[in-house]
Amino acid sequence: MQRLFRLSALLAALLLILAACSSNTGGSSPSGSAASSGDPTAVCAADKFGCVKVASGDKIEIATALTITGSTSSLGLDSVTGVQVAIKDRGQVAGHDVDLKSTDAGCSNAQDGQTDAQSLVADPQIVAVIGTSCSRTAVPAMPVLAAQGYLMISPSNTAPSLTDPSSKDFGGPFYMRTAYNDKVQGAAVAKFACEVLKVKTAATIHDGSPYAQQLQQVFADQFKSQCGGTITAQEAIHVGDKDFHPVLTTIGAAKPEALFFPIFDPEAPLIVQQSRDIPGLANTKLISADGAKDDTFISSAGPLAQSLGMYFSGPDLNFGSTYTDKFLPEYKQIAGKDPTSVYHAHAYDAANIIFDAIEHVGLKDSSGTLYIPRTALKDYARGVKDYKGLTGTLTCDPNGDCGASFVSIAQLKPDASGKLAFQQVYTTRSAS
């Protein structure tokens, strides 16, 4: 029996070396084979947060902390499927199967992020976390995770403050993300508004979340500085409210040419519907962002948004042939449907960075037990450089920003089967 194990471990190691070599041709994976030798006890004792021990034959456990229930679940479940595709593609990591623990970190309530993080650190077998969906829940989750040395990679947090060391929301050394920073998205939307839509006045609405609040601020600043536009109002709403007539009336008084409201469901579709009741907004171009770019929005206000020619910013999903020919079919097979939102490929990359890191820093003792030192794992992941991921070539900056995707603007149009879908009309990716 033991011989069989050893043989299979050897075989797995060989396969991994082969895999590493083959992907090296892409210049991605750092050299060095998986589960290298060394004295695990000494390494683990030296690591501030110790090691995760995975006995031979046991599974490596990783977790997702995304929004998987309620009206924002289209966003989070989409990322969960991205992680599942990554696990399936990868097969074994350092000779172990990977087990995914999918937890709910919510979106609209910051406290849900903290509660979920506490449940995650209660499980010492979890190697790393992919989450959260929303910036608001990442802020309270991060201190809890970092205190126990849990690495978290977010596929969809975009708030600038999370990677800004001077901010109180700063994610810290155990936080990184594969999504872009909203400094990029906000600037792109501002550029689109003044260069393509050629509008001179705009208003914004946020919901008090770090994501919405900062994204609209970046947009407002860039709209003023890039093209000398005027911001007529920067309003805010409450999550959970349904009546936005008063706030829309006060915004409509100045008749802005564009209204940017990067918020979530169900508030975003309600604003679209109620904006029709306000004479001052009759000719205003509506722009929302990635937080609302999902199936829930389409089912609530899709036809109306289509008839209004509403715009949505989000990551440019033209990731190339691997994405369309390999990733998407697998996604469809696992989820049973097309992607419901836009951060599945980012989750796929996040999972693969974790797997690479495990293989690189993991140590095996003579009995075949895998030791994963937490600090070393984080150092490897945060040091990713020229990583050829699905979303582009990822390089992490010192603050945890690793995103490589471009920003696109989409509109709702019927696809080939006549179903409404988000279709790109503008991108910051240079045609090449």
Binding site: D243, T249, A253, A254, I278
Partner: protein, 351 residues
């Protein structure tokens, strides 16, 4: 409240007078700054007021349920917001079928009447069952007990609906006949809002007629005065209490459909906030008082709509609308400080 100087200046009355002056100055200064800044056109102000009245009518209809039950049982039925939600959620399935078959646009009046009927009857049924199961066995229990039961019942109903109908929000079909605006005495008003306000007025008149002019209404008032004496007079107290819950449920069901027609979206949690707001409205107007519920609802609705911008807009406070609940509830606190029984409430000696 007479505006005469207190006989003796003690600490409390001095503080209260100071508070009155501070509030008056703040309100006047804020309003003056906003109005003189000219940021909003008169049309926009009119819109804000109409939106507030429409929203306030819905609050008022729900508040009537709180007030009726309080009137006869002196308890707060905190599950009333969920009675409201259940009607709207159930009627959604009828509305969706009507929307898909095109019936709702072919024959909007009949379709809406059916939707209203379904919602009102569902809410009524839930209210009756609620009274029978959750409140009647506890009628002689200390007053805190039914209050806790009410909160439990509220959670039970909302989570049952979540389990039965799912937790996604559902969209009501849009009714073509209710789109656009209606010219009412030269004021263009949204048709949905005209419907909300008109329905509220009709239901309010019907309720007042019922309570003041019918035998059951008279019995209801008798039970409200004194249950034991009413029973001695041959009134079936249990039946009257059930009737009270049923009427409250009917009004909540109607409010549910109106709410759904204005906002299009319904979900299992939609009863919570309007329930709290309507309770606030009932207290604001004077709980136990039927006209007070409507006055409280309208006051709260208009305050929420107009208040934030009127008070803060001129002071260049960023995003004043985010503070709308702060303003609405500050007003509630102030009203309760100066008129503990609410706007139309009478003081009740001996209670």
């Amino acid at each position: 409240m007479r505006f005469r100087l207190p006989q003796r200046f003690n600490l409390v009355s001095t503080i209260l007078w100071g508070l009155r002056i501070v509030v008056a100055v703040l309100v006047l200064a804020g309003s003056w700054a906003t109005l003189s800044s000219g940021k909003l056109t008169p049309d926009a102000w009119r819109e804000l007021i109409v939106f507030g009245i429409a929203q306030g009518s819905v609050y008022g209809l729900i508040a009537l349920g709180y007030t009726l039950v309080y009137g006869v049982l002196f308890m707060i039925n905190f599950a009333h917001g969920d009675v409201f939600m259940t009607g709207a959620m159930t009627a959604f399935f009828v509305a969706r079928n009507f929307g898909e078959s095109g019936f709702i646009n072919a024959n909007p009046i009949v379709a809406l009447l059916i939707i209203f009927a379904v919602s009102m009857l569902t809410s009524m049924l839930v209210a009756i069952v609620l009274e029978r199961i959750a409140y009647r066995p506890l009628r002689r229990a200390p007053r805190l007990v039914p209050l806790i039961t009410a909160i439990g019942a509220s959670l039970f109903i909302s989570n049952s609906i979540r389990g039965i109908y799912g937790e996604q929000s559902q969209s009501y079909p849009s009714v073509t006949a209710l789109q656009g605006r209606l010219d009412l005495f030269g004021i263009p008003i949204l048709k949905t809002q005209a419907l909300v306000i008109a329905s509220a007025i009709v239901l309010m008149i019907a309720l007042v007629y019922f309570v003041e002019r019918t035998r059951t209404g008279r019995a209801m008032r008798a039970v409200s005065e004194d249950k034991d004496v009413a029973a001695l007079m041959g009134i079936n107290v249990d039946r009257i209490i059930v009737t009270t819950f049923a009427v409250g449920g009917l009004l909540a069901g109607a409010a549910g459909v109106l709410y759904a027609l204005v906002f299009n979206e319904v979900d299992w949690f939609m009863g919570f906030l309007p329930g709290i707001k309507a309770f606030t409205a009932a207290v604001l107007g004077g709980i136990g008082n039927i006209a007070g519920a409507m006055v409280g609802g309208l006051t709260l609705g208009v305050l929420e709509s107009v208040g934030p911008f009127l008070l803060l807009g001129g002071a260049n406070v960023p995003s004043p609308n985010q503070l709308r609940d702060v303003i609405a509830f500050t007003v509630l606190v102030l009203v309760l400080i100066f008129r503990p029984n609410g706007i139309l409430g009478r003081s009740e000696p001996g209670r």
